[in-house]
Amino acid sequence: MDTVFLAAAIFLALMMGLSLYRAIAGPTVLDRLIGVNAIGSKTTALLVLIGLIYHRVDMFVDIALAYAALNFIAVLAASRYFQKKKGLYDQPHRGS
Amino acid sequence: MTHPVAPGIRSRFGLSFWLTFIICMITWLVLSGMFDLFHTGLGALSSFGVAWINGHNFAPGAGLGRTLGQWARFAAYVPWLVWQIWRASLHVLILTFDPRMMRRINPRIVSFKSRLNNEMGLFILANSITLTPGTITVFASVFGRFTVHTIDDASAEGLPGKMEERVARIFEA
């Protein structure tokens, strides 16, 4: 069973690499934010997997819970911050 | 803060206070996993503090029977919602791996007016729409005007449809 968990963890890390491309190369700041959010939600699953591999789930699950909450707050704060920065994008401003 | 509805429920030690206290206490017990007197006492103390500060705005302004009925109907709504999310997820997953994806998607902004008239129902409907893949609530007003971004035609034609009926059923009676 450990082999399955290890393979799943490596696969998740590769998926995070794919999302990292969007976080680095995204045309707008919000694209980068989507990439970071996707990496964060994969990290939550990865933390529990690491706990299963090391047979210490009871400890790692608390870290995963805290990380899920932190990921949410980080995305919320970043998007609240960037929406005030008008003219940050290439596109001309349309009235909303 | 004074509210016009149901003053007995929102008072300091009313129903809302005790519901908040019990939920906080259960969360504490599950998260700590220690049941001796010292740790349980600490949990009771902090739950009391949270409920003391924050307890008056938890329950909707209705009687105990109505509140419990709404919670029960909401609990029955959640499995149906998860089933809908599962179906829509498969649809978006197939769309993602389709080589001719750029020709199949058709992003549009859809507006509609909901007939729900209470804020909690609108809140649940907006979150359910966002949680279902293929549709994202861009804007929802207090009066029930929704603006939704949809990814393709199949996601767009199901709006608001059955989901609104289900949400309305939570709050009737």
Binding site: M1, L30, A45 | G33, V82, S89, M102, P107, I136, T137
Partner: protein
């Protein structure tokens, strides 16, 4: 038996994660990218964490059950917070004045800056 079920659920969840990652790369603009990013990841998290909760609860002791409940608590937290995070990103885009990518009649690609 439990190992087979766990592996199946885990594989399903990883397929959803793969769909989320590929969708983020392939879709044309960031409104469309939010559909795979927010939702397929949530679905993948539900399946993978459900598998791990099953595997943990199969241990049978009280501590194992509490850990399984904690894992399900993560799922509940993500299901509550995911729509809010998605809506915050959409709202930021709308207020910054980004217009969504729309399709022209003949399927020609619409320029983002139009």
């Amino acid at each position: 038996m439990m190992a087979v079920l766990t592996t199946l659920l885990l594989t399903g969840g990883l397929i959803f994660f793969l769909g989320g990652a590929v969708g983020i790369l392939r879709f044309p603009d960031f409104y469309a990218r939010l559909h795979p990013a927010g939702k397929l990841d949530t679905m993948g998290l539900l399946l993978t964490l459900g598998a791990m909760a099953l595997y943990t609860a199969a241990g049978g002791r009280l501590g194992d059950w509490l850990t399984a409940i904690k894992i399900l608590l993560i799922v509940a937290l993500v299901f509550i917070t995911s729509p809010t995070a998605t809506h915050a990103i959409v709202d930021a885009g709308v207020r910054a004045g980004l217009s969504p990518w729309m399709r022209e009649d003949e399927g020609t690609e619409h320029d983002l800056a139009a």
